[in-house]
Symmetry: C2
Subunit: 209 residues, 2 copies
């Protein structure tokens, strides 16, 4: 496997899509998948796929295709999914509850170890077998349970405050669903999720239909 | 504005991110934004941004930056957001309810005109001022209200059946949250949303910390 420093950001951004597609192919029982078929499923040219995957090593057999399980395991390894990161969700409204119930996180190897809310009616309830705890105890619990990733699903007005607490408690990364520009210290990894991106992209395509 | 056929898929995929970032900049009251600042916020090089935006026309002033409102309006136009598409959400569990409450869809110009579920306890309730209707009436209502985009938030096992109904009722596009490989006729636009992509991407970055 080549050093990841030689891999372009565009390739890195495609890795989770490869992983997703390989997981679905595995679910369908496919053993081998061609770059043509991967390309068709991903909307990427087969040439790009061969180039992307070649930058990590030799996962395919010329004229046959890629071995689905092996390639998935390798892409998962590159993505660091075998670290089995501990994750916590902050804000258990509809979005937080939907995320807590999201079966794929388990499939990907993430451990959901804590849920937090500030609403007394929500604290103490369980979602997907995990108890919702008082957000007042966020920092303490993040440290005790060695939570690596905090998922922010609170309203925009509270998001920065939650991020600050997560940072001070020592998380490695933040996955933010609040539509604000979050300020985090240099070196803290943050992925801002904006669900309107997918819908806007769809708008583009149907506009040109 | 150049013909969109000359624009690469990679550029198109970045447009919703530009739009999102410009919207946040507008919310902050910024009038002008440089390609350096856009680049910092997006994690894209300023050169790439200048190249992307130049492919649509002249939106900036050399040495000054881009005019936020003008550029946002133009990118929004390219994305087709000024079509004010009618959207419907199918499956009003936690995810569907979170989507129905998502303020950004309104900000982007989408009209939420229908919600559907099959659970008698959910049918008749309202989410964000929209009544949940019986999924049995999906095709009829999609036609009557000229729904352009169907958002599938039902469990995986029911997703293909819902997609088939949306297609036969004449939607232009489908935004699918179910983790399955959906079969739709050629020419039907579908965007598959997988929330685990963002989390996997974060995993990659913290693994290499």
């Amino acid at each position: 496997m080549k050093s990841p420093t030689t891999i372009s950001k565009a390739t890195i951004d495609r890795l989770p899509l490869y992983f997703r597609t390989l997981r679905l192919a595995q679910d369908e029982g496919l053993d081998i998948i061609s770059s043509d078929e991967l390309g068709r499923r991903l909307g990427i040219t087969p040439e790009q796929i061969r180039k992307d995957l070649a930058s990590f090593g030799q996962f395919g057999k010329k004229g046959v295709g890629y071995f689905v399980n092996e390639l998935k395991r390798n892409v998962g390894g590159i993505l660091g999914l075998d670290n089995h990161w501990n994750i916590a969700i902050i804000g258990i409204g509809h979005l937080g509850a939907a995320l807590a119930n999201f079966h794929n996180f388990v499939t990907l190897g993430f451990n959901l170890v804590a849920l937090f809310d500030e609403d007394p009616d929500v604290i103490g309830t369980t979602v997907n077998h995990v108890k919702v705890e008082d957000i007042a105890n966020l920092e303490q619990i993040v440290k005790e349970r060695q939570i690596h990733i905090g998922i922010i699903a609170v309203p925009a007005a509270f998001a920065q405050g939650v991020a600050d607490k997560l940072v001070s408690a020592g998380v490695k990364g933040i996955w933010n669903f609040a539509p604000i520009k979050m300020e985090v210290p240099a070196g803290m990894h943050i992925v801002n999720e904006d669900l309107s991106v997918g819908l806007s992209s769809l708008s583009y395509h149907i506009t040109r239909q």
